[in-house]
């Protein structure tokens, strides 16, 4: 048996290859869009995984600490540690901000963790260079994606931090790399007022006779100190003891501490289904539009190629070629075009994915799905040309 489609493609390969490349770039964009979504989900999951937490304890009735602000007292961790089934509990703060470094701004998620407590939840689990934070102040561990290097000094708000360690795959659910600093510093950075505000606040306190009674000169200082101290964190991360289920541990914390507690599954739902859902729909829209554009291109090209062969198809029909053979030829050409496009697209997506600022995760399952979609779209797009070819009258070959 002879493959008419294959021979036609070989004969006019230029047309097929150039169309295939154009189509391929579209398919590459489509695969990348899917990869961007996968990357977002993976970032979120990596963040949850690397936090090492089984439970997230946050302010009551909030979706904190990642999807909504949450603020709880920094002594709650002690009472949580005493709850049944709790192995470890650690305070943590999160603050996304822009940091100027080496002449450019880097968007990072500043994470406040307790110094010198490796293995606690919230700590960077693995370093690729340097060491963990051991001093209570002015040291930092950065994700490599920040671009910071060991020994760099970076400024967060009013303080400067020396990068003593580098970690990797520690990103926020938005894809921003993490910068770990000691908890006390982080609390200050998060809740700190600037010095002018403090001076004004102090003056206001001093003018208030209730807070600055004559005859008690120490009181105004105590009040000011309490006003400027920051006994808050965003969440307490909890690791549970073996033999306990997350719900089993979470339930008494909810009831007795009057706090909201999320398990890993609930946290994932908040991040993936709520936070990323809009982006996913956005990407879904793009995928639909790109599919339609690809289909239109394939349909147009295959239709044009077929119409350019009206005479030959009429002759083929006249000399007794089956309609099936002719339809199959056109279908095969459309699929061939799709195949070229897919290969080009896959290569393009793989080549340009690392250049993207955010993590692009190309799953082979998505490629398989994409391949099937391309083939289905090409098959549908060829229907128009097949219909036109079947309408060609074999009498046309004889002419007038």
């Amino acid at each position: 048996m002879i493959s008419l489609a294959g021979r036609d493609i070989l004969h006019s390969w230029g047309k097929f290859v150039f169309t295939g490349i154009g189509l391929g770039l579209l398919i590459g964009v489509t695969l990348t869009m899917a990869g961007v979504y996968r990357g977002m989900v993976d970032d979120a999951q990596a963040m949850l995984d690397n936090s090492g937490a089984d439970l997230w304890v946050v302010q009551r009735n909030t979706l904190g600490p990642y999807a909504e602000p949450s603020s709880i007292n920094d002594d709650v961790d002690r009472s949580i540690r005493a709850m049944p089934g709790v192995a470890r509990a650690a305070n943590v703060t999160y603050l996304t901000m822009q940091i100027g470094h080496a002449g450019r701004d880097v968007r990072v998620m500043v994470v406040g963790i307790k110094a010198a407590s490796p293995g606690e939840p919230g700590q960077p689990p693995h370093l690729i260079a340097g060491r963990q934070i051991v001093r209570a102040h002015y040291e930092a561990v950065a994700d490599v994606k920040t671009g910071f290097r060991l020994g760099d000094v970076v400024q967060v708000r009013r303080n400067r931090y020396k990068v003593v360690g580098l970690t990797s795959r520690m990103v926020s659910s938005g894809g921003d790399p993490m910068l770990f600093i000691p908890l006390k510093d982080a609390q200050q950075a998060q809740f700190l007022k600037d010095s002018d505000a403090i001076v004004r606040q102090r003056a206001r306190t001093a003018r208030n006779p209730a807070l600055n009674p004559p005859g008690n000169p120490g009181m105004v200082d105590a009040v000011t100190a309490s006003q400027t101290s920051n006994p808050y964190v965003n969440a307490v991360l909890v690791q549970i003891k073996e033999g306990f289920s997350p719900d089993q541990v979470a339930e008494p914390i909810r009831r007795w501490q009057r706090l909201t507690v999320y398990t890993r599954a609930e946290m994932e739902e908040i991040l993936v289904d709520k936070l990323i859902a809009t982006s996913a729909r956005q990407i879904g829209m793009f995928l639909v539009i790109l599919s339609i554009v690809s289909a239109a291109i394939v349909a147009f090209i295959i239709y044009t190629l077929t119409m350019g062969k009206i005479r030959e198809i009429a002759v083929l029909k006249l000399i007794g070629t089956r309609n099936r053979t002719i339809s199959f030829m056109i279908l095969q050409q459309a699929l061939g075009l799709g195949l070229i496009g897919f290969v080009v697209g896959k290569i393009a997506a793989t080549a340009w994915a690392p250049i993207f600022p955010k993590y692009v995760l190309l799953l082979s399952s998505d490629s398989v799905r994409g391949f099937i979609a391309v083939m289905v779209i090409c098959a549908i797009a060829s229907l128009l040309a097949i219909r036109a070819a079947l309408r060609i009258d074999p009498a046309e070959a004889i002419g007038g």
């Binding site: 008419l4 030959e312 002759v315 007794g320 009258d393 074999p394 002419g399």
Partner: protein
């Protein structure tokens, strides 16, 4: 295949009522096996219409057509699969060769047998045999666009002959060729008819080749008139 082609009282009317065109109004014709006859007539006299009816691509209005011993039409089609009839029993040659541009010369000729399930090697061997007989074997690997008009037409003839059809219908096969080449093509068709016992009808306007026909049908006002007996050897 005793009887070649026999056409009796064939009528074809295009359209109906006011706009009806009476293209064929009772055509009678007979072409024996191994015989080549010419069909001439003024423009619009119904020559192409006759070939289309015989080629089973349009349906006549009434009459009778027989190929070999089989009646293919008797006021209605007598064969269920006209496509197979065309494939197995009728070879077509057109004014333009209409070769498939993306197949080389050999595969253009071998295409039908290959599609019909003959192995590629066997179909190609047979194609080369025919191309040799038609003196274009040296161009067997060329693409159609690389051939001269006369070479293309000979390839088209090879294609028409490949399934050894008992009937070949040629509509102005020499139109694009100069005198010498036109005569060569007619000679080839005569040789092939003699060799394979094919009944061949050649529609033509071509003054140069008309004298070569032993028998000639004239078609006028949708009716045929035989002008046989011209004793001009087909050489």
């Amino acid at each position: 295949m005793a009887d070649g082609i026999r056409i009796e009282n064939l009528v074809k009317t295009y359209g109906e009522g006011e706009t009806a065109v009476h293209a064929l109004q009772g055509v009678d014709m007979h072409v024996g096996p191994g015989e080549v006859v010419g069909l001439i007539g003024p423009s619009g006299s119904g020559k192409s219409t006759l070939l289309k009816c015989l080629g089973a691509v349009i349906e006549p209005t009434s009459g009778r057509m027989t190929i070999g011993e089989q009646t293919i039409y008797d006021n209605e089609w007598k064969i269920p699969d006209l496509r197979a009839l065309r494939r197995d029993r009728i070879g077509f040659i057109f004014q333009s060769p209409y070769l498939i541009p993306f197949l080389d010369v050999t595969d253009n000729v071998a295409l039908l047998p290959m599609l019909a399930g003959v192995t590629n090697a066997k179909a190609r061997a047979h194609a080369v045999e025919l191309l040799t007989a038609l003196d274009v074997a040296h161009r067997a690997k060329a693409m159609p666009s690389q051939l001269s008009g006369g070479e293309q037409q000979r390839v088209a003839i090879a294609r028409a002959l490949v399934s050894r059809p008992p009937v070949i219908l040629a509509d102005e096969p020499t139109a694009p060729l100069d005198g010498e080449r036109a005569l060569a093509v007619v000679k080839i068709l005569n040789d092939m008819a003699a060799r394979y016992q094919t009944a061949i009808i050649i529609v033509t306007h071509d003054e140069k080749i008309i004298p070569t026909f032993k028998r000639l049908y004239h078609i006028r006002d949708g009716r045929t008139h035989e002008e046989g007996g011209r004793v001009e050897p087909a050489s």
